[in-house]
Structures are given as structure tokens and as C-alpha cells.
């Protein structure tokens, strides 16, 4: 029953084999109006945003604000194992469909609620979205260039993170149900999900009472801010100057390569085994950084990556969505699923299941449902509602 905040939860359960039914309001989930759209045509049946996170699910429409709609929903709950929802706290209880009410109908039911701030507490009724969660959870404060406003990641992260945590929580509750036969209520806070992502900052605060700040391509490390993202000729790289056990081999190989182009500068002859960035003066580390930057800017990310793979260097290219879609590693591993979209007369390439199992297939098999696509199947076959009544329910705006 969730909007975009909780889609990921049902998606994960569906890929683990659950039969997930998406309950939308008549006319469809308003989040179907969020782009990007297939061929840029705004249409609730063409939202790629919706397609992305509702694969494998079946879909029905139901107006739970009507008495009859509530009865039908209760009937659905009788046969369900999980209810996943993201309404404002208290909304479902107001309709007689809260956890305590549903658990009377089905004591085994697990209800998972995904909200911006959680079910209780001073901010429970605050309005939230991805941006608010990223701000209130402390992520943005340490993200972005120092001379500009703090930023989130340009595509929603708090939603899929909250959905994934919700799936983990729901399945822990499921294990308790296996042991005891009892269901329960799982309360997920988006703000709290993000607050858990900044645990390095938490450690610096706890250990040193220091507040890390945003520094563009650099991050708080040891005693200073160190660069993790480096520009190159056609994009950027993920790389960190590290000495000793983790970094010496990489720096050695890089220096040898740079030397063939007479660009090794101060790196030449350096003892990388004993290199300790925390003992360098800012001038020394700037010099080192500049030498590396000059070299990277002469080469493309693929050139550098191929050399990194050959020489076992701890270094990666900065990939775009296109690079990922065309990455040989993912192709070789059959990572992509070509999903059929008969209504659009096309197929679209999706990322397939999130992991591999020796026993079961964790897979995406079908595209997200159309609005009310499975109404007849679920109301008719599963609940035994007659064709006549279905037509009536449709006319009354209940389904």
C-alpha cells in the first residue's frame, strides 16, 4: 500500500519469492506521475520511476476510505502475511485498519510502516520526503562542495534505503512469527535510516567531539581531509592515497606507469610501505595530489581502469548509468533482465535480482502492474467476488 517511500520493501520480498500485491487508490498511485517517463511522455502508465521499483508485483485498486473498501481490505488481510504501508502515522487506525485492528482479524499479520520520522515522537506528524530525510539524518551536511549549499545524492536514496531496512525488519519479525506464531508492527523511520549511514561522522563526534563538514571530493580521514574522487581526462576516478598494507602496491604500480611518461615527479623513489598521510604537511600532500592529478588528467577513465586491473591497483573509474548498463562485468554475469512491455510494444533492460543463490532463483520476471491490472484475478478468483458485484464496485469508485 506504499507510495515511493516503501516500494523497495515489497520489491525485495517479491524477489525472494513472495506474492506481492500492490494496492493503489482508484486511478492509481499518485507517484505514477513522477518522471522520468518512457519516451518522455507523461502518463501514469509510462513512469519509469514507477516501473523501477514495482516489478514482479501484482496490482489492484481499492478505495479504503469507503466502508465497502475497508471490508474488502480486511478480507485481503485475512489471507496475507505482511501489510506494507507508508501513510501518515494514525491514518490507517482512523479508518479501522491500523495494526491493532488488523491483528484482531489476523493475529499473525506483520504490519510494516515506513514513514519520514516514525510512528511516535515529536516529529511524527512532520511532512517528509527524500530531501528532508537526507537533511535531518545528517547526510547532506557532509556532502557537496564547501562553497555551495549541502547536497543530497541527485536521485532518491532515503526511499530505497528505508524500503530495504523495512524488508530486513519484516523478515526478522517473520522469524519471530515462525517461533511464536505471533505477528507484530514494524516501525521504520526514514530519518533514522539516513542517520545510520553517517556512522563515520558519528565516530568522529564520539571520539573527538569533532563535527566533520562537507569538502567536495574529500573526506575526513585520520588527521586530515583526503581526496577520494579525482578528475581524469573524461570524467573521474575513485581512489585514495594510502600507504602500507593497503596502498603501497597501488602507488608503486602507478609510479612506475607515470615514470614511463616522465610524470612521476615526487612519487619517484618514495617509500610507500612507510608512507603515512597523517604525518605529511599540507604542502607535501598537496604536491603529491597535484602530481597524481596532472597524470590522471592525461588519461581516460577506461585507460586507467584497464591498467589498474592489470596491475591490481585499488582504483576504480567513476561510472555513469550508461557505463553501468554497458559494463562487461555485469553483462558476463547476466545481470540484466529484458522485461516485456507489451502495451508499449517493447522490452526494457532492468537490473535483475539483487543476489545469487545456489538453491533458488532470485529474479525479476515481470514488469510493474498496470492500474488495476489484477482486479478481476484477485477480487474474483481469490476473494470470490462475483462479476456483477465487481462491475458495481467499479461504478461506485470502490475499486
Amino acid at each position: 500500500m506504499t507510495d515511493e517511500k516503501g516500494w523497495m520493501c515489497g520489491k525485495i520480498l517479491s524477489e525472494l519469492g513472495a506474492d506481492v500485491v500492490k494496492v493503489e487508490r482508484p486511478g492509481g498511485d499518485p507517484a505514477r506521475d513522477i518522471g522520468p517517463f518512457y519516451h518522455d511522455i507523461p502518463d501514469p502508465e509510462k513512469s519509469l520511476y514507477w516501473f523501477a521499483y514495482n516489478t514482479n508485483k501484482r496490482g489492484i485498486t481499492l478505495n479504503i476510505q469507503t466502508r465497502r473498501g475497508q471490508e474488502i481490505f480486511q478480507q485481503l488481510v485475512t489471507g496475507a502475511d505482511f501489510v506494507i504501508e507508508s501513510f501518515s502515522p494514525g491514518y490507517l487506525s482512523g479508518l479501522g485498519l491500523g495494526y491493532s485492528q488488523l491483528s484482531e482479524i489476523n493475529p499473525k499479520i506483520i504490519m510494516t510502516s515506513i514513514t519520514p520520522f516514525g510512528q511516535t515522537g515529536p516529529y511524527k506528524d512532520y511532512k517528509g520526503c527524500d530531501l528532508v530525510a537526507m537533511a535531518m539524518g545528517g547526510f547532506m551536511y557532509v556532502c557537496g562542495d564547501a562553497d555551495r549549499p549541502p547536497v543530497r545524492i541527485s536521485i532518491e536514496q532515503a526511499y530505497p534505503i528505508a524500503g530495504a531496512e523495512a524488508a530486513a525488519g519484516s523478515l526478522i519479525a517473520n522469524h519471530y512469527r515462525i517461533l511464536t506464531g505471533e505477528g507484530q508492527h514494524v516501525d521504520v523511520s526514514m530519518q533514522e535510516c539516513i542517520a545510520r549511514e553517517i556512522f563515520m561522522e558519528l565516530c568522529f563526534w564520539d571520539a573527538l567531539r569533532e563535527i566533520p563538514v562537507r569538502a567536495g571530493q574529500c573526506r575526513r580521514r585520520m588527521t586530515a581531509y583526503q581526496r577520494d574522487i579525482w578528475p581524469c581526462k573524461d570524467g573521474h576516478l575513485g581512489f585514495r592515497i594510502l600507504g602500507g598494507r593497503f596502498g603501497a602496491e597501488t602507488l608503486q604500480a602507478l609510479t612506475e606507469w607515470m615514470d614511463t611518461e616522465n610524470m612521476a615527479g615526487s612519487l619517484k623513489g618514495m617509500d610507500f610501505e612507510s608512507l603515512d598521510m597523517s604525518k605529511m604537511t599540507p604542502a607535501e600532500s598537496d604536491e603529491l595530489e597535484n602530481t597524481l592529478c596532472q597524470f590522471f588528467l592525461k588519461h581516460t577513465k577506461e585507460e586507467i581502469y584497464q591498467k589498474a586491473v592489470e596491475k591490481n591497483m585499488l582504483l576504480c573509474p567513476g561510472y555513469t548509468p550508461r557505463d553501468l548498463a554497458e559494463y562487461e562485468q555485469l553483462k558476463e554475469r547476466n545481470f540484466w533482465a529484458e522485461l516485456q512491455y507489451p502495451e508499449l510494444d517493447t522490452t526494457i533492460k532492468h537490473p535483475d535480482g539483487f543476489l545469487r543463490s545456489s538453491e533458488v532463483k532470485c529474479q525479476i520476471q515481470k514488469r510493474a502492474p498496470l492500474i488495476g491490472e489484477h482486479n478481476e484475478e484477485i477480487y474474483g478468483q481469490n476473494l470470490g467476488i462475483s462479476k456483477g458485484e465487481l462491475a458495481h464496485l467499479k461504478k461506485e469508485g470502490i475499486i
Binding site: L13, P36, G118, G121, P122, Y123, K127, C129, A135, M136, G138, M140, G144, P149, P150, V151, I153, S154, I155, Q157, I161, A162, A167, A168, L171, I172, A173, Y176, T180, D187, V188, Q191, E197, I198, M200, L202, W205, L208, G216, Q217, M222, D228, I229, H236, G238, R240, P317, G318, Y319, T320, P321, R322, Q329, L330, E332, H350, F354, R356, S358, V360
Partner: protein, 412 residues
């Protein structure tokens, strides 16, 4: 109240689940600490020659490095037992056999090839215990041309597409927090492990699960990937902009480096927003009436909004906006987050006593189960702290055998 219900109340959902944990860094340890919080027993296997990586990750207690002094290790390993075992010792195999027989689940992220060498790959483990569930975590998966390439979250986040999508369109890519791809993986792995436990209860079978940062990360970028695979468009970073809301950004407030965020989606919310800021003249300009109009004039709009926000504290903006139902929040620093009244209410941050760190903060999980309390049984272990307990009590070795193996250097 019957006695069954009473006894259920004291039960933890994962009590009796036994996990043998060879994983290092973030993704593996983060997921096993969660299992521990819900009652699973975790034996973390290290060696004095190769201890867990994050034992040497800053920050340290009093800024002095030491294998039991890292706050990073402490937060990631709460509630576990630590044993030392030298896998290169010829007699380690007999100990491994007993550990595996004890376990329900093995978690590992060895470098490619190492698991086989130590007899810890799935094929060898299932011979020791046929219904074992093995979770193997990796950077890019166990097969494929790049499977051998080393990677950690701090640079894999670039390969996995996150830095490309972080920052400003006219600037270099920026880096998102932490070892980002390490941090977003555990929830998928926990879901998979619990599904595997359920599967074993129903079928009696174990299984091998493989998860990689490269393949879980795209799950967080699917709309951008489909925009490419269906439309051929390569999305790029766009600051804080959103196609479905405007204003949608961080705005400067009163004070030093203080910011608030405001997100306005529908035209109805726009009207409310205008009322909250006192309906200045510019809000009546019809070009701002619709989302599309606001999107077309967003640079100008952002400046006008900020000309208002700079006169207030970020907290004042949030309170005013939220009073009328407009989504808004403070861009909170870690100090603000630790002091946040909502997170205090949820007890997000808890305190543990650690023998070397003293009192330190440990994080709760982001979900609450109405019938199961999270229990941090003990602080993160010192290296090899539980050798005697695990080898003699949990595995049932005799004192003589324990001492003999100890003297032989097996437990180094």
C-alpha cells in the same frame, strides 16, 4: 495472560541462530551486528596476523591508534565474540570443522580464491555441514572478468555510479558519505539470510548466497538506469533539484553554515508555502503558479526563497513550514543529529561501556519491532577476547586440548 504469551515476550527473534563470521570491513560486520542485536550468536574469526581491517580505522580513543581503540570497529562489532585462529596453521582445519559444525550461517568476504585455500568455500563447508547457509560478499561478484579486481566501498561508490550522481552539474563529481556502497548492502543480505533460514526450516536445505556491491548498488539507481536503457538519456548530478518539486533545495539560514531544506511539490503546497513566507509581492507573479513555471524559473526562484530564509534560523524555518504541512527540515550536523529530539525519542543512539574506549555511542537500528527489543548484549570484543569461552564452552574442547592447540600456535 497465559504463560506462553509471557515466555514469548522474553524471546528474541533470532535466539539460537549461530553465525560464524569471517567478514571484514563494513558490509559483513554491519549485517552480523544486526543479527546479534536480535539474539543471534556471532563468532567473529580473526588472527593476530590478520585482524579485522577496521581495528586500525580512525578515529581512535584519545587519538592513539591501537587494535582495541577504534570507534569504527566498536560500533560495527557490538555484541559479537572474537576469537583468533591462524588459518595458515596446519592444525586449523580441525578447529574450522568444529566451528562450522556449530554454525547455521557462515559469512565471508575473502579475497577471490582464499576461501578455497582455507577450506571455507561452500563446497567444502557443506561437506562438513550439509544444511549450512553460506553468505559470500564481494566487490564485483565471484565470476566475470573483473571479479578479481580489489575494491572497497570508498572507491567502489565511484564504479557503482554514485559519485557521478552527487554534486553540481557544472562542477567535479562529489563524494557521498562513508564507504557508501558498503553501507547500503547489509539490508539486502539480512533479508536474504532470513529468507534462507525460512527455506531451511521448510526444506531442510542450506544454500550458498552471493552478493556484491556492484550488483546491489544499481538497485538504488534504477530510475536513472531505465532512463538510459529506455530513453537513451544519461542522467547526471543536479545539486538538489527534482523533476517533481520546486522549490526543492537547501537554503542558507541565519548563523554560520546553517541551512534548511524545503520541498514543494503540488500547486496547493505552493500556495501554502507562499502564505507561510508572508505572501511577498513576487509570489504573485503568475510564472510561479505552476510546477512547470517554477521549474523554468528555478534559479531566480531559489534566490528569492533564500532572500527570505537568511533572516531565520534553520530550526525556525522547519517549525514554521511544518506547522502548515510543508516538507522542510534542518540540514543537521552530526552534533544536531545526536541531539535531535525525534531520534532521542526513538533512542537511536545508545551508550555502551567498552574496556578500552570507556563509554561510547552505539547506533540502534532504523526499525522497531513492537514485540522484540533490540539487545546489545556486550560491547565490541577485544581481539581474541573470547578464545577460551568459545573453544571450550561453545565448541566443547577439553582444557587439555585447548592448551595444547594454544601452545602449538593454532589460536594466533
Amino acid at each position: 495472560m497465559n504463560s506462553r504469551a509471557k515466555s514469548n515476550r522474553d524471546r528474541l527473534p533470532l535466539e539460537g541462530v549461530k553465525v560464524l563470521d569471517f567478514s571484514i570491513a563494513f558490509m559483513g560486520p554491519d549485517l552480523t551486528r544486526t543479527l546479534s542485536a536480535f539474539g543471534a550468536e556471532i563468532i567473529k574469526v580473526e588472527s593476530i596476523y590478520q585482524h579485522e581491517l577496521t581495528r586500525v580505522s580512525a578515529p581512535f580513543k584519545d587519538n592513539v591508534a591501537g587494535i582495541n581503540r577504534s570507534f569504527v570497529f566498536a560500533v560495527m562489532n557490538t555484541g559479537k565474540y572474537s576469537i583468533t585462529l591462524n588459518l595458515k596453521h596446519p592444525r586449523s582445519a580441525e578447529v574450522v570443522k568444529r566451528l562450522v559444525t556449530w554454525a547455521d550461517i557462515v559469512v565471508e568476504n575473502f579475497a577471490p580464491g582464499s576461501a578455497e585455500k582455507y577450506g571455507l568455500d561452500y563446497e567444502q563447508l557443506r561437506e562438513l555441514k550439509p544444511d549450512i547457509t553460506v553468505l559470500s560478499l564481494s566487490a564485483q561478484g565471484a565470476t566475470g572478468p573483473y571479479s578479481m579486481h580489489p575494491g572497497y566501498g570508498f572507491n567502489l561508490l565511484a564504479l557503482c555510479g554514485f559519485s557521478h550522481l552527487t554534486g553540481w552539474p557544472d562542477r567535479e563529481a562529489a563524494v557521498p558519505v562513508g564507504a557508501y556502497t558498503d553501507f547500503i548492502l547489509p539490508w539486502f543480505a539480512i533479508a536474504a539470510i532470513l529468507a534462507a533460514l525460512d527455506y531451511r526450516l521448510r526444506t531442510g536445505k542450506g544454500q550458498h548466497i552471493g552478493g556484491s556491491q556492484l550488483e546491489i548498488s544499481p538497485q538504488f539507481l534504477i530510475p536513472a538506469i531505465l532512463d538510459y536503457t529506455a530513453n537513451g538519456r544519461v542522467q547526471t548530478r543536479c545539486g538538489n533539484r527534482s523533476s517533481s518539486a520546486s522549490p526543492h533545495g537547501a537554503f542558507r539560514c541565519r548563523g554560520d553554515d546553517r541551512w534548511c531544506v524545503i520541498a514543494v511539490s503540488s500547486d496547493e503546497e505552493w500556495e501554502t508555502f507562499c502564505t507561510v513566507i508572508g505572501s511577498p509581492e513576487w509570489t504573485k507573479d503568475p510564472k510561479f503558479n505552476t510546477l512547470w513555471g517554477r521549474k523554468d524559473n528555478e534559479d531566480e526562484l531559489d534566490k528569492l526563497v533564500e532572500a527570505w530564509t537568511v533572516f531565520f534560523t534553520a530550526e525556525e524555518i522547519m517549525t514554521r513550514m511544518q506547522a502548515f504541512g510543508v516538507a522542510s527540515g534542518v540540514v543537521q550536523s552530526i552534533k544536531d543529529v545526536v541531539d535531535d529530539p525525534q531520534l532521542k525519542h526513538r533512542r537511536t543512539f545508545q551508550f555502551l561501556e567498552h574496556p578500552e574506549l570507556g563509554t561510547h555511542i552505539c547506533e540502534n537500528l532504523a526499525f522497531r519491532l513492537s514485540k522484540c527489543k533490540v539487545e546489545w548484549k556486550r560491547p565490541a570484543p577485544c581481539l581474541g577476547e573470547h578464545n577460551e569461552f568459545v573453544y571450550t564452552k561453545l565448541l566443547g574442547m577439553s582444557e587439555e586440548e585447548f592448551v595444547e592447540l594454544l601452545n602449538d600456535g593454532v589460536f594466533e
